[in-house]
Amino acid sequence: MGTSDLKLLSTPSSPFALRVKIALNIKGLDYDNIVETMNPKSDLLLQSNPVYKKIPVLIHGDKSISESAIIVEYIDEVWKNNGTPILPSNAYDRAIARFWVAYIDDKWYNSSKNLLVAQNDESKKACFEQVEEVLLRLEDVLNKYSEGKDFFGGENIGFLDICFGSYLSWLRVTEKVIGKKVLDETKTPALVKWAEAFVAHPAVKGNLPETDKLLVFAKSLVQRMVAAATPK
């Protein structure tokens, strides 16, 4: 089956690496998880992702694949007969899933990052509103596509579940940092239920970073980002 030649370059805190781990788990694939320190970046990382020099990178035999969403699609295509399908079978539904993944990697990523580093009350409020807007949209999407089942993908976790769900640990950390609920059952009840189902899913459980450790990491990251953005 060739699964002994699978390596994943990752870090424990990366939501993008988490996406790949979940996809590999869904397909029941064994892999060698190589934890990168990123400082310095390993030769293997530099060779396998010379363009971006970032994780995650999936190394399959002599092939290297980078960019988490692209890696997940690759896994789904190569091991299409394993486990459950990640991308929908219908072309239109696939286009919708790809669109929403691109949307969250743009809108969720940027708005939640801004919220995490916001320093004054005014910008915190503005960032919070932006994050809320994204969540309200996703609540609609979930209600529309889940067809009453647990996930965006319906009965099984799919592309959008994996890609958005992998941000959940960081969402929890953000809530701790700002001292306020971001995922709120009074505003987005379906998403709250979805989050619970997602983290309990066998392909996800046990792969999530510990919130306390992630909080420490996040705080130091925020400090560095704020320092870098501050004019000297």
Partner: protein, 225 residues
């Protein structure tokens, strides 16, 4: 191969590189479609209905179902209409095609536009440096006549921005961002690509587009004084 024209619609704007990508793909596969020219200053109700989130073109509508984001549209078109494929069938080759198209969108499109349409000298230099670096990476990646080998593929189509739009806007600012001296392989590729029979027919008229961008550039200069 011919479909009921009413079933396939493309909401676009002449002059948009993202709309152009979709037009090239549709022509390559000989798909008949209805083109709806959108006024981006005065957006139509149809556009706002189909793309409420971004309110942008292109919007591809197939049997009344809208799809947005040019690269997502290209993949959809390739999956529905299998003649003249633009994506390879091998999963690894597909992942590479997706990677390079995303690279063009993330690293080249914005940086190169900002290399022209930025007033602050320091900011502009930064964008020029970024674009140059990214173009060099692409230059190194190009192995054959096209990114797709002997025939144009997904990456070539995504790169139409580089072939047609960058030379056009760099002329406005008298910038030498993309030249045959700096990027001989990529420049050669651009000439082959622009002369490809399908591509040639689907490029917007150069002069009005130049005038449009020049007006924007002049406006930017004036506003900074």
């Amino acid at each position: 191969m011919t479909t009921n024209q009413e079933e396939v619609k493309l909401l676009g704007a002449t002059g948009s590189p993202f709309v152009c990508r979709v037009q090239i793909a549709l022509k390559l596969k000989e798909i008949e479609y209805k083109f709806v020219e959108e006024n981006l200053v005065n957006k139509s109700e149809l556009l706002l209905k189909y793309n409420p989130i971004y309110k942008k073109v292109p919007v591809f509508v197939h049997n009344d179902k809208p799809i947005i984001e040019s690269l997502v549209i290209l993949e959809y078109i390739d999956e529905i209409w299998k003649q003249n494929p633009i994506l390879p069938s091998d999963p690894y080759q597909r992942s590479l095609a997706r990677f390079w198209s995303k690279f063009i969108d993330d690293k080249i499109v914005l940086a190169s536009s900002k290399s022209v349409f930025t007033i602050d000298e320091k900011e502009r230099e930064k964008h020029i440096e970024e674009s140059t670096e990214a173009l060099q990476i692409l230059e190194n990646e190009l192995k054959g006549k096209f990114f797709g080998g002997e025939e144009i593929n997904f990456v070539d189509i995504a790169a139409v921005f580089i072939a047609f739009w960058i030379p056009l806007v760099q002329d406005i600012a008298d910038l030498q961002l993309f030249t045959d001296e700096k990027f001989p392989k990529l420049y050669n590729w651009s000439q082959e690509f622009l002369n490809h029979p399908v591509v040639k027919q689907n490029l917007p008229p150069r002069d009005p587009l130049f005038a449009f961008f020049k007006a924007r550039y002049d406006g930017l200069l004036a506003a900074s004084k």
